[in-house]
């Protein structure tokens, strides 16, 4: 059945430092409730909102990165409804209807799997406060309000119903988060900085909205559940109701919040305290000129300037932190190709294995570079390096220290190696005979020497000694 999914994503502009309409600090996480508030963001009588111009700049940057069309004159509207998390009982937002003009319309995001997801509009608005229930939403005796979040700047990104699978929804969200991180406007790793509502309809049928989804993983789950639920309804000959549903994370089901009949009338009208904002072409050009390097440009540069294999470059440029790690390695003097191979290959698989994120303090470019240098200087073999890297990621210790502590330094002592080679030759007479005709047997002999040294023997030297010895053996 034809599945249509549209997403509405709210991203906090976490790098603004201040709120959207006042000078309160937006860096509230972990602080006491209601300590980042002022008369303006509390909407006290007599106060007036004052637009934070940096928010406009960030909004334009997002729109440019999403190939969206920036509107020459945008307006702010009031969205009126009563709810205890809204200090003024209206939200200053934008509106794509009536005379309302949001900051940008249209645009698209190309997924790595070759699908293009179209954007409908992008708008700027203020975040409401946070309701803190003592217990669950149903059973709480009381609810506390933390206004620290009230008035934080949000960009709302609304997609067309272009997404076809729950998996695609997740890929889109990841991609979007990456783009926002590249732009430096929003830190997606902060709790609650990105929130998502999803619309879903099956076979051109009724649209259901799912609200309050906390993570990308949960979006995928919620949509999966909803597809199953709607299919089952259809199979039973029941109709899907147009309604808003809540994703209950603990039970992993959606539950009905309200049906169409009770959906609010927001009574949008132009915010009289904020004049329409003229966004000139020069302004847009200036923002464009100051945009940081975005993924596709990064990829090209890695390939062209640093000779990184295309495959590696594509992976490294996809994610801001990964590209930062790579660029830091190069900056510290690592060979770009070697560094890219190690990051894309072993490092990423170890991180998955250890369930570590790139932000973990144990993941350090300095350590990676040190390890690469140990290989380059012939002090450890590639095989030992893998062990060292894994250990370093587990413990946070530097590769040098690991090598020293565990005596992993390569054995380059020729006399010692000669003795070992002789030993191996004595113990493997059959292989020695074969080796003169068969390269595989040569490698077997080299491997035996490595085995005796637990991989520490200098592979180049060992190979040389084995071949020398073979050439010295007289054929009887």
């Amino acid at each position: 059945m034809d599945v249509k999914i549209g997403l509405e994503i709210h991203c906090q502009l976490t790098n603004l430092r201040t709120k959207l309409f006042c000078n309160c600090s937006s860096d509230y996480r972990g602080d006491e409730p209601n300590t980042h508030i002022c008369p303006i963001c509390m909407g006290l009588p007599g106060t007036l909102p004052l637009l934070n111009e940096k928010a406009l700049e960030d909004g334009v940057a997002v729109a440019l990165a999403l190939n969206s069309e920036i509107q020459p004159k945008m307006t702010f509207y009031r969205k009126n409804y009563f709810y205890p998390d809204m200090p003024k009982n209206f939200q200053i937002s934008q509106f794509d209807g009536g005379d309302g003009v949001p900051i940008a319309k249209g645009g698209f995001v190309d997924l790595d799997v070759g699908r293009r997801i179209k954007i409908r509009r992008i708008q700027i608005e203020e975040d409401p406060a946070k309701l803190v229930y003592s217990g669950t939403i149903d059973t709480a005796e009381e609810v506390l309000i933390d206004y620290n979040r009230a008035g934080i700047a949000l960009v709302e990104i609304v997609t067309e119903p272009d997404i076809r699978t729950p998996r695609e929804a997740r890929l889109f969200l990841q991609k979007l988060r990456d783009i926002l991180e590249f732009l430096g406007v929003s830190d997606g790793s902060l709790e609650g900085s990105m929130r998502c509502d999803a619309n879903i309809s099956l076979g051109g049928g009724t649209r259901v909205e799912i609200k309050n989804i906390s993570s990308f993983k949960e979006v995928e789950r919620a949509l999966r559940f909803e597809i199953t639920r709607q299919k089952r309804l259809s199979a039973e000959g029941l109709t899907v109701q147009r309604e808003t549903r809540h994703w209950d994370e603990s039970r992993r089901i959606t539950v009905s919040l309200r049906v169409k009949e009770t959906e609010e009338d927001y009574r949008y009208f132009p915010e009289p305290d904020i004049m329409p904002v003229v966004v000139s072409e020069q302004y847009v050009d200036a923002v464009r000129g100051a945009l940081p390097e975005l993924p596709h440009r990064k990829k090209d540069r890695y390939v062209e300037d640093l000779n990184v294999p295309v495959q590696n470059a594509a992976i490294l440029s996809r994610n801001l932190r990964l590209s930062q790690l790579f660029e830091r390695c190069v900056g510290l003097g690592a060979d770009p190709v070697e560094a890219s191979n190690w990051i894309v290959g072993d490092l990423l698989s170890y991180l998955r294995e250890l369930d570590l994120s790139l932000e973990d303090p144990k993941v350090r470019a300095e350590h990676l570079v040190e390890m690469l240098r140990l290989i380059e200087d012939g002090l450890i073999s590639g095989k030992i390096a893998k062990e060292v890297l894994l250990e370093s990621l587990k413990t946070g210790k530097s590769p040098k220290r690991i090598v020293e502590e565990r005596g992993l330094m390569k054995i380059g002592d020729e006399e010692l190696l000669e003795r070992l080679v002789e030993e191996v030759f004595r113990e493997n007479r059959r292989a020695v005979l074969d080796a003169r005709l068969n390269e595989e047997a040569v490698n077997y002999l080299i491997g035996q020497v490595m085995k005796k040294t637990a991989g520490k023997a200098d592979p180049v030297l060992t190979s040389k000694l084995v071949r020398l010895k073979l050439s010295q053996i007289e054929v009887g």
């Binding site: 006290l44 009588p45 007599g46 106060t47 009574r267």
Partner: protein
């Protein structure tokens, strides 16, 4: 200036001046009830400080020692600001409005917070939770509204100066009914920061005084760009624009009297008094012509749609959660909010909230709000056209004389009709002044002059001529 010297500074010291004023307030206040809060101690202390500064020769404010009565919808730090409502009975703003800071900087003394129609909704000061203010010329009559307390305080000489707010005529109406001068400045000329919003796109804080000169002085003290108000006109745009360039006095003032503001609904005696005053002025420096401004007839309904729409949204914040009146918890949010608002707001406020909610609702927004905005645009265009040929637009400020307390409260529509001549200045954002132009049976009649944007100087010049030429015999208010 004569009046100013005569009253304000004939005392030996500012402290003496303030003490006499407080004495006068305590004598007249029981009858007039112009104030919600009188700041006796605070004012006396400030007076002492100013006297000290004067003695040391360091006082330099334009308003040094002058007492200002401030409408109770303008926030004063640490002094309750009620908007004449039970909802904000104990609201103590943690900040001062920008105009208050400006007054302080100029050495003015805030003498008290004045009575007003609840949330500035009304033109009789009868909807105040604190009871009505009475007209000093006839205490059985209303002082006008919504800045009736400010009008009454100035007229009865219970303050040297007063601030009101004008959303649809709320400064000019009480100024007219109380026989004083009142100005509705150009939209954006005076900061609205700290003015508790009723209808943001229409309202301005405005000065009231017994003379044009004092009114001008107060206006100059509060005008200026305020970075806290996004609708405040930037300093570089305050130089007269193309339209405002006629702030230089011509050989004669060309005045337009639109046919639409006379006749039906206007008291014949008022009309006559205004036209008499204008024709008297023709002897001097005025050239008066009648003409048409057709859109004026649509101004009143457009005004009420916009004002009520904005009000319904602005007043949504009074839910009792963070400040103000709160009803005890009633099992869910909606019911608790409803109870709080039902108890906290008066009838007129509720009426306007409901009407405003209706006009903004889905399906009615285009029929009412959008249409009202179109009328507004049309009106601006017509006014701009008129100002290509005329310096000023003139007519009565109020179509009627001050009515008796209780006379109109039962009929809101009749009450709304009183605003017919004042609302155009709010819809267009153009400045307008009212000055007394005559008395009928001891009751004052106001004449209104409207100028192009930022044409306040032009208004003061013309008004001063009226003041000089008409030399009105003001009935004594000396109780």
């Amino acid at each position: 200036m004569a009046r100013l010297m005569e009253y304000s500074f004939k005392e030996a010291s500012i402290e003496e001046h303030v003490a006499k004023l407080i004495e006068r307030i305590s004598r007249l206040e029981p009858e007039i009830h112009a104030y919600i809060t009188v700041l006796e101690e605070q004012a006396l202390q400030k007076a002492k400080r100013l006297d000290d500064a004067l003695n040391k020769g360091v006082a330099k404010g334009k308003l040094t020692g002058m007492t200002v009565a401030v409408k109770d919808n303008i926030c004063t730090k640490g002094v309750r600001t009620t908007c004449g409502s039970r909802m904000l009975l104990n609201f103590n703003p943690p900040y001062d409005a920008t105009v208050i800071n400006q007054l302080e900087a100029q050495g003015a003394i805030i003498i008290g917070k004045t009575n007003m129609d609840e949330f500035a909704m009304g033109n009789s000061t009868e909807t105040s939770y604190f009871g009505p203010t009475r007209n000093p010329f006839d205490p059985s009559r209303v002082p006008g509204g919504s800045s009736g307390g400010s009008g009454g305080a100035v007229a009865a000489e219970m303050a040297d100066l007063a601030l009101g707010s004008d959303t649809g005529g709320s400064v000019r109406c009480p100024a007219s009914f109380c026989g004083v001068v009142g100005l509705k400045p150009t939209y954006g000329a005076v900061s609205r920061y700290g003015l508790i919003s009723y209808a943001n796109s229409l309202e301005q804080i405005g000065p009231m005084a017994r003379t044009v000169e004092m009114c001008k002085l107060l206006f100059e003290a509060i005008a200026g760009h305020d970075p806290l108000d996004g609708t405040s006109i930037p300093e570089e745009l305050r130089r007269p624009t193309e339209l405002g360039s006629r702030t230089e006095r011509r050989s004669k003032f060309k005045v337009l009297v639109p046919a639409q503001i006379l006749g039906e609904g206007t008291d014949e005696r008022v009309e006559k008094a205004v036209l008499n005053a204008l024709s008297e002025m023709e002897m001097v420096e005025f050239e008066v012509r009648s003409g048409d401004l057709p859109s004026l007839s649509a101004a009143l309904p457009a005004y009420y749609v916009i004002a009520m729409s904005e009000a319904s949204s602005n007043l949504a914040r009074y839910d009792g959660v963070r400040y103000g009146h709160q009803s005890p918890w009633k099992h869910d949010w909606d019911e608790t909010y409803s109870a709080t608002r039902a108890e906290g707001f008066g009838v007129e406020v509720k009426r306007r909230i409901i009407l405003g909610t209706y006009t903004l609702s889905a399906g009615y927004y285009h029929k009412y709000y959008v249409k009202a905005q179109k009328v507004r645009t049309l009106l601006i265009t017509e006014f701009k056209e008129a100002f290509k040929r005329f310096d000023l637009i003139a007519g009565p400020t109020m179509p009627i004389l001050p009515f008796r307390i209780g006379e109109k409260v039962k009929d809101p529509l009749e009450m709304y009709m009183c605003d017919v001549d004042t609302v155009p200045a709010n819809l267009t954002g153009f400045p307008a002044i009212t000055i007394p132009c005559g008395f009928i049976e001891g009751l004052p009649v106001g004449l209104q002059l409207i100028a192009p944007p930022l044409g306040e100087e032009l208004l003061f010049q013309a008004a001063r001529l009226f003041e000089e030429e008409l030399s009105l015999r003001v009935p004594r208010i000396n109780r």
